[in-house]
Every structure is written in C-alpha cells, then in structure tokens.
C-alpha cells in the first residue's frame, strides 16, 4: 500500500478542518480542545494538534490530508508534516485581512527551503466583503504563476477543484 500526503495549512480559523471534512472519506480525526489563549476570541474550539483525512485512490494507493495546527506555538509540527508531502494548500480567510501577514509567514515557511508545489485557496468567497483572489494575490505579494483560487471550504465541489488545481501543478513537475 502506497500512501501520499497533502498538507492543508493556513492561519487560525482559515477553514482547514472544514476543508478536510468536506472531502475526506473518513470522519476527520481532529484533536479539538477548548482554546486556552487569544484564539478563543476567534472561535470557541480551535485545532491544537492537527486534522487528518483520507481518500482511498485504489486498493494500493491512499491520499492522506493533514491539516496543520493553526497557532504559532505549534510551528514545529509544520516541519514534520512537510516532509515528503506531495503538495500544499494554503487556505486564507478572504474576509480577514488581519490574517494575511500570518498567511505570508506560512507560505514563507513552506517554500523558502523547498521547491514546494502549492496553491492558495481564497476561502469564504461566499461571505460579504471577501477579498477577491486577484486582490489576495496582490495583498500576499504572490507572483503570477502561483494559483490563487476561489474557495468555499464547506462545499465539496469547491474543495475538489482546489485539490485538482494543486494536482495539475504537481503533474507539471512530475516525471514520466
């Protein structure tokens, strides 16, 4: 059995758990506990360890989806999760510009020393005052070749589209 891994990252409350939940074939394994710091101002329960989802591709191939911890104090997990990953989805809450700096920090972490295949998912596009993908590209200073895609993490089709776009990026880099 071969397993491959994708990492879903983003700032606190970007929608990582919901993203994985929308596509995973198993009940998402999530270590949710009552938040003990300022994240409880954003949501009552927040991810303090990680989320895990799974998609069986075939009898001999499984895709694992790992959601990174949102809070800074769990940065050390990012290094572990990024080892051997196929690609990365960076989720951004398009309605909260106060999280853009943290999003940049995450992108910088995952891409500075690795040639990481990644896409940016502009989540919560169904909300009023959501910044458009084009505006997010400028706000996050992303070059034109990086895909910044509209996303609603609660909708399976939207999540499928994000994963497919990431896979197309990975396909371009893969070997025959």
């Amino acid at each position: 059995m071969q397993t491959v891994k994708m990492v879903i990252s983003g700032a606190v409350n970007a929608g990582k758990t919901e993203f994985i939940r929308s596509i995973s074939e198993i009940e998402v394994v999530s270590t949710e506990r009552r938040a003990s710091d300022d994240t409880k101002l954003i949501k009552k329960e927040t991810t303090v360890a990680m989320d895990f989802g799974r998609i069986a591709v075939a009898d001999d191939l499984v895709l694992h989806l790992f959601g990174t911890p949102g809070q800074k104090r769990f940065d050390f997990m990012w290094e572990i999760l990024s080892e051997g990953m196929l690609g990365l989805v960076v989720l951004v809450d398009s309605t909260r510009p106060e999280t853009f700096r943290e999003t940049n920090r995450i992108i910088e972490f995952f891409t500075s020393y690795r040639d990481t295949a990644y896409v940016i998912a502009a989540n919560k596009q169904d909300r009023p005052n959501a910044w458009s993908p084009d505006e997010l590209r400028l706000a996050l200073r992303q070059p034109p070749h990086v895909k910044v895609l509209p996303c609603v993490a609660s909708e399976r089709e939207s999540v499928k589209n994000i994963l497919l776009e990431l896979l197309y990026v990975i396909m371009q880099r893969s070997e025959d």
Binding site: L63, P97, R114, T116, E135, K160, L167, E175
Partner: protein, 275 residues
C-alpha cells in the same frame, strides 16, 4: 463589494501597492477616532485626498489665494449651466482662471500633505468602495499622481521596527532586484541616503552587509529597503542554507521535493474527479 480592514493589520503602504498593481478605481475611507480621511483613486493612481471632509475645491483655492470669491462664483455659474458633467477643476482650467501647472502643484501639495500624515496612524479602520468617484466639486488633480513616491515618503516617516519586521524579519536576509526594477524605479525619487543603499543592492549582500558598507544603521537600511519592497522595486529573501560539502554539491540549493511519477498523479486526479 467593499474591502474592509484595519491599517494596523494591513498597512496603508500595502494598500497603496494593491491599488497601484490592481489598477483600482474607487475611494478609500479611513477613520481613527474622530479623524477621517478619504483617498480617491483612478486606475491605480491617486486623484484626490483629504483629511477634512467637506472642504471643496473652491474654498480651498480661495483660502490659498489662488482664486477670488468672484472667480469661484463665476466658475460655479459655468458649472451649473453645463450639462456635460464637467468638474470644477476642468472649468477653472477651461476658463483660464489658473494654469494647469499651478493648479496641479496646488492640488498635489494639498493631496500629498493629506496622505503623508496618514502614515503616522498606528491603526484605523479602512473601507475601500470600488468604483466610487469624487463629487464634481472635489479638488481632483488634473494629472493623477502615481503612488510609488507616496509610499516612499510614508516609509521615511516610519520610526519603529514593528511594521518593518513584517517584511524584513532579519538583517541576515538578502536584497535583490525584481525582474524589471529599472522601469519602475524611474518614477521614484530617492534621497541621497536611499541611493547609497540602492546602489549597494547586488543580490548577494545581506541587509547587515549593506549597513556595514554604507555606514548606516541597520534600522535605517531596513527602513529604506522596506520602502523599496513596498514600492515593488526589490525583494528580500532568506540567505540560502549552506549545503553540505560533497563532491557533487557546490553552493546552496533549495531542498528537492521527492520526484513523483505522472502516472501516480494521474490516478489521484481521476479519483478526485470521480468523487
């Protein structure tokens, strides 16, 4: 839809960059306590800004001695009788009450002063209304103003590390030019101190190196480079990690991701398409 936020989280210079690169047209409303400001943009360039809402072009030009009250009254009569939607700016020029150069200079100074003070706001709510245009009576500049110089001037007023650290977390980072800095740099006016730093950028030296070579403080170099970054002239990147010395590796390279077979990716794509 409006873009909303707080300049504590998304700075004014960042917003100007977004407006410039996104060729935005609309009005940026800023408020902090009792203070308010509005900035109108057209296709990424600033056409009008004011800290005191409500002051109209005519009153401002009278206050500055550029127009007499009689001339203003005459211009308004022309405007009222005109059905083509001409702005007061256009009428003042068409009636030869002021030269375009004089009007531009007066309005540009007023606009720049209005914006520079905003860079001192540590926080403040912003709302960008896309497509909103100024009233016909508002003092729109005949020639729209590129924002790069506003960004540079705003950055010159930064006196704390906090905002700089967002883009330049360490002085051990390398400064490099973007693909075509020459074209963009033409419109930016640099101070002699900024030129000293600009001339030292070579894609190899760190900010600390540049500080040493220019005899400027690390803070000054970082502040100046932060301005270049925000104006879209340069980029800062982490210094490459030294690679282990082996016979096959000379120099630092990014860590390679595992090579993946196309056939494997294709299987995953087909599976997800079918979900």
């Amino acid at each position: 839809m409006a873009l909303v936020g707080n300049i504590r989280d998304f700075g004014l210079s960042d917003f100007l960059y977004l407006v410039d690169r996104g060729y935005k047209t609309g009005c940026l409303h800023l408020s902090r306590g009792d203070e308010q400001a509005i900035l109108f943009f057209e296709k990424g360039k600033l056409i009008y800004a004011a800290r005191r809402e409500g002051e109209q072009l005519g009153e401002m030009l009278i206050r500055q001695g550029k127009l007499t009250p009689e001339q203003l009254e005459q211009a308004r009569q022309v405007q009222n009788g005109n059905t083509n939607g001409m702005t007061l700016t256009q009428i003042i020029l068409s009636e030869n009450m002021m030269s375009q150069e004089d009007l531009q200079q007066t309005l540009q100074t007023h606009t720049e002063e209005s914006v520079y003070g905003l860079f001192g706001w540590p926080d403040g709510e912003f709302r960008f209304e896309q497509g909103q245009k100024p009233d016909l009576n508002e003092p729109v500049m005949p020639i729209p103003l590129p924002v790069e110089n506003l960004i540079m001037e705003g950055v010159r007023r930064i006196d704390e590390w906090g905002r700089i650290k967002d883009r330049i977390p360490s002085t051990d980072m390398i400064v490099r030019f973007l693909d075509q800095p020459g074209a963009k740099a033409k419109g930016v006016k640099l101070s002699p101190e900024e030129w000293r730093v600009f001339a030292r950028i070579n894609g190899k030296d760190t900010l600390a190196d540049i500080a040493q070579k220019t005899n400027l403080s690390e803070f000054d170099v970082c502040r100046i480079v932060y301005g270049f970054v925000t104006a879209g002239l340069v980029d800062v990147v982490k210094k490459p990690r030294p690679a282990p010395l082996t016979s096959s590796s000379r120099g630092a390279q990014p860590m390679e991701m595992p090579r993946i077979k196309k056939s494997l990716v294709s299987r995953i794509i087909n599976r997800i398409r079918g979900m």
